[in-house]
Symmetry: D2
């Protein structure tokens, strides 16, 4: 674990929602972050699949933390806006949200994200959601 | 409570995520649905405000159920996509997501939503998020 | 015509695209701008309706100029991003894009827009498109 | 030129707007379409760069025609909605919009697009805009 990972993990662990959902930070590298969410009946919509809101929560975070890897020390990243397409039902045993920086500005960072659904132990997955997001750098609280 | 409310409530209560977040269905009328979420430290992002993912979850649902009030009996509504702007930090004691149908088609319904933050017992609120969403009608499972 | 209108009109008239499309600035007030586009076969998509790109061009401008009415003198507004839903074919004799500021920040302004299609001289219209946009204030060139 | 290219070109050439903007269809393959737009002062916004509306018009078309390459013969594709981020000013001698299918359904197809700005004859470009779009298949007119 490097200092970039530590910085992101400290912020991730301070998020009540990630713990409530059962999400885990699994990869941090320059411009890219992965967050994993195991299936749970606590996360479902009315048909028993994972709710779009839970899927969005992890990919929003993956994008936000990807942006944070590119931002100046002492700054914080918040979401200005995002757009998510849901391409198929979120069916799977676990989900991995991948967030990547597409363009990093001083103020605004554009990221793209996807959420991959895995069933079983194999490497195959289906992309269930695509995100395009705008993150904004703000000074961290003193 | 009318039959439209009952139909929506049955679906809402079948969603594991709404119970996990602590959200409540508070208004159902033709083309408009309200969902309330009290503040909880289980819902926060790293600064202690409510996470964009929790805010999105309730306004996605408010929009989806608003669309469902316009759909044929025996059909289900799922989210094709949405876009959300976060205009200020989600600070408040409770949040009310308001979803409204803007255009109802046979297949696709376009909705707009907003999330209002309330502090104290008064009627004043601040809009913390705006959503524009596309919902799609699908046949309900037999 | 007031000075706010003059400021917006000067910028509008400097846009080559608006003249190419045949668009006209028809209303400027604090936080709201209207732009009109008459139908022309120069603007069509493959079915003969007005192209989504032309519709988007005028509502993007209506939103951007609505944001400019709220920005400091000497600043310029550019589009960070927008999202547009097309609710029905853009059929009509003329189209009016209405852009409104929803939340004006120092840096980012969130606007909503709609495009109304008119046929004949009457006041009735159909909303053919809805936009939700983020505008960013930048210093004007010296 | 194959029959897929011919089918797309016939539709492209029926669009008044593409000719008005000066856009050209330059590549059609299964699930991917490129459209080129040379710089012209007829396309500008108030600072002299290419207008977001012109940029959006070509990438909307690139996405729509990419979707059409995946759709059944006798069907038409129209835009349900799109979202575009503008990452830097559209400065260049020519712009190439690249649209790709991400997920093709019977009814809805999700595409991603980007617009590349070129200056000079070299292969280097800068991505000025990113789109995420939902296209809908409709029966072609008889």
């Amino acid at each position: 674990m490097n200092s970039l990972h530590e910085r992101i993990a400290a912020s991730f662990n301070a998020q009540g929602l990630m713990s409530t959902l059962g999400a885990r930070l699994v990869l941090v590298q320059d411009g890219e972050v992965h967050i994993e969410l195991p299936f749970s009946s606590h996360l479902t919509q009315q048909q028993g699949f994972v709710h779009a809101g839970a899927i969005t929560s992890i990919v929003d975070n993956a994008c936000g933390y990807a942006a944070l890897t590119k931002s100046a020390p002492g700054s914080e990243v918040v979401t200005a806006e995002f757009k998510t397409n849901f391409m198929r039902p979120a069916i799977g045993e676990r989900f991995v949200a991948v967030g990547k920086v597409q363009s990093a500005g001083r103020m605004l960072t554009v990221c793209s994200g996807e959420v991959r659904a895995y069933s079983g132990a194999g490497p195959d997955y289906k992309v269930v959601a695509l995100m395009q997001a705008t993150m904004v750098s703000v000074p961290a609280n003193a």
